[in-house]
């Protein structure tokens, strides 16, 4: 935050600012001192904001034409695709936008894991981020149900049935969630309602996420605390805004590639078959971004066990800041942890792959190995490696020589280039 108080130049500005300090907020956001060595992995926060707003704007338009009724939903989606002006474009942006949103959020999360952005003093930012991620999954799942295709219906059936695994009250809870004795019209109606609500909850949490970020300021690739403002920082505008804009545009090119040239490649063809409660698809698979968790769920032969493990896979992330015992934030200076980080990335990708495959034979074995490793990484690897690892020398500041060892005054510079 700026040292000096912002004083508006105009009289009207001063009048408003004395009553509601909006201009002070604007000045704070503009001047916000940002580490100058942030690399492109740091541009995904802005990209995610764009994704959220895109989903909200396209979603509001879609909701003007969509009909949340079991008999009419599928037809109303076709109406959007065929009769609404640019309805196909709006819907394809929305459906592919969900995938792009998750692509960006996974990169954002793994960036945080690599550079230790979840560690003190940024635990609250991390936890709010995870809450956003949870809500994103809920919103995406319910959104996928709305076209009322085969995968919508059966995906909803599989996921809501998970709650029936809860002892004693499971069946009652499931019936309560459905609003019926199976996934049916009441389910579709409430999913639509919640699907419309959740993005605004996310928006609120995003404000808190950014607010919490602006207290300690950004982490950076070197992972050290920096003086703010100093020669290690640049004002957010224009330096970060222009860089975020550039990264966002590159992202938009990829996004547009999907929307205009392969709009259905990320979806499942079965979802163009209207929902039929009497015909179960050969393989029920969730959207790609939920596949790793689906693999964890199916790796356990017991339903309740699978459900517990799947939710644990997400909730374990909430205590990550306290599982990580290393005093060094950035994996750039953690030679051992760095390798485990990449093993985790491969592990999650593998879980995603087997999540799309039938739960049998070698896939089941891989899913189990992957699941065990996933938990080992957080419960064992992170505390133990953090405790035992000999980290590399850390620079004193982004642009100054290293603190210990001292042999390589250029290391900070090298780090800068490397990451």
């Amino acid at each position: 935050m700026s040292e000096h108080e912002y004083v508006p130049k105009s009289k009207a500005g001063k009048w408003l600012n004395d009553r509601l300090p909006l201009l002070t907020l604007g000045a704070h956001l503009t001047d916000y001192p940002t580490p100058k060595n942030l690399n492109y992995w740091w541009t995904f926060g802005g990209i995610l904001t764009f994704c959220l707003l895109t989903q909200i704007v396209t979603g509001i338009v879609l909701a003007m034409h969509y009909v949340a009724h079991a008999d009419l939903a599928f037809a109303s989606v076709e109406h959007i695709m065929r009769d609404v002006n640019y309805g196909w474009l709006i819907r394809y942006i929305h459906s592919n936008g969900a995938s792009m949103f998750f692509l960006a959020v996974y990169i954002h999360i793994f960036r945080s894991l690599f550079y230790g952005s979840y560690k003190s003093p940024r635990e609250v930012i991390w936890i709010i981020g995870l809450m956003i991620y949870l809500l994103m999954m809920a919103a995406a799942f319910m959104g996928y149900v709305l076209p009322w295709g085969q995968m919508s219906f059966w995906g909803a059936t599989v996921i809501t049935n998970l709650f029936s695994a809860i002892p004693l009250v499971g069946d009652s809870i499931t019936t309560w969630l459905w609003g019926a004795y199976s996934v049916d019209n009441p389910t579709l109606n409430r999913f639509f309602s919640l699907h419309y609500l959740i993005p605004f909850l996310i928006l609120g949490l995003v404000v808190l996420h950014i607010w919490a970020l602006h207290v300690p300021g950004n982490n950076n690739p070197v992972g050290i605390d920096i003086k703010k403002p100093s020669k290690d920082t640049v004002p957010f505008h224009p330096y970060i805004t222009i860089k975020d804009a550039f990264a966002l545009l590159v992202f938009m090119i990829i996004f547009a590639g999907f929307v205009f040239f392969t709009p259905n490649v990320l979806g499942h063809s079965d979802n163009y078959i209207p929902a039929n409660p009497l015909v179960t698809p050969a393989h029920i698979v969730p959207e790609w971004y939920l596949l790793p968790f689906y693999a964890i769920l199916r790796s356990v032969p017991d339903k309740l066990g699978g459900v517990i493990l799947m939710f644990s896979a997400i909730f374990i992330l909430f205590v990550l800041p306290w599982l990580d015992t290393s005093k060094v934030r950035s994996a750039v200076f953690r030679p051992i942890y760095r390798q485990f980080f990449w093993i985790l990335v491969i592990d999650v990708l593998m879980l995603g792959y087997v999540g799309a495959m039938p739960a049998e034979g070698v896939y089941l074995v891989l899913a189990r190995v992957g699941t065990i490793y996933y938990f080992l990484h957080f419960i064992v690897v992170m505390p133990v490696v953090g405790y035992l690892e000999k980290t590399d020398p850390i620079p004193m500041s982004i642009s100054e020589p290293v603190m210990s060892g001292g042999a390589e005054p250029s290391i900070a510079r090298k780090v800068n280039d490397k990451v």
């Binding site: 545009l249 090119i253 205009f260 050969a282 698979v285």
Partner: protein, 260 residues
Amino acid sequence: MTKSKLGLSVLSLLLLISFKPLQSAEMVDPIKVDWSFKGLTGTFDRASLQRGFQVYKEVCASCHSMQYLSYRNLGEPGGPEFSEQEVKAIAASFEIEDGPDAQGEMFTRPGKPSDKFKSPYPNVQAATAANGGAYPPDMSVLVKARKGGANYIYSVLVGYEDPPPGVKLDDGVYYNKYMAGNKIKMPNNLMDGLVEYADGTESTVDQMAKDVTTFLAWAAEPELEERHKTGVKVIIYLVLLTLLVYLSMKKIWSRIDTEV
């Protein structure tokens, strides 16, 4: 920067590979056809669409509905592009049920371009009952609803064979090389010379299968041509804007000692 960019593309690629779709064991891969609507700038072959509509109307439509299409779509840009008169004539050749009138009675009238395609059966149950217990699926989005898309639909249409020895088929079940499970309840309806094409094209089974598949591909994605055209423009615009923003970024960051 190059490194992080490379890493980014590798990561996105891996994410995409990680959800490779499922494949059932019995299926033979569909025949790969070099469709004119493939690729970034693909468009539909207008003549093929019109012939395909003829095949649909004379062969498929007796069992399959296409309830999400309207007759007016046949005249819209990017589709078969029949003339206004032709579309009116096509629509008028169907008797459409309308009503209720002022007396509360349903009545029929000749179709209008704004009417939806007339379905052969009043409901799914009637269609199922009339077809040996197998519902002939609505064909509006069929190409999008099948893995393999147009290639798969074409392959099934030309994939009828005598069953291999040892495979017993029930009455009303046919053997098809490309159908999942190889058993299909739709008989082989295409035979050489079945329809008389208005444009004089020889109506071989292969020709009809290609034409009707093209028609179905358009029916499933009537926006395809506009989508491709707009997409090229959007990408060119974004690339140019990215370039400008990149240069601006370089300029702005040149004020400080850090590379961007």
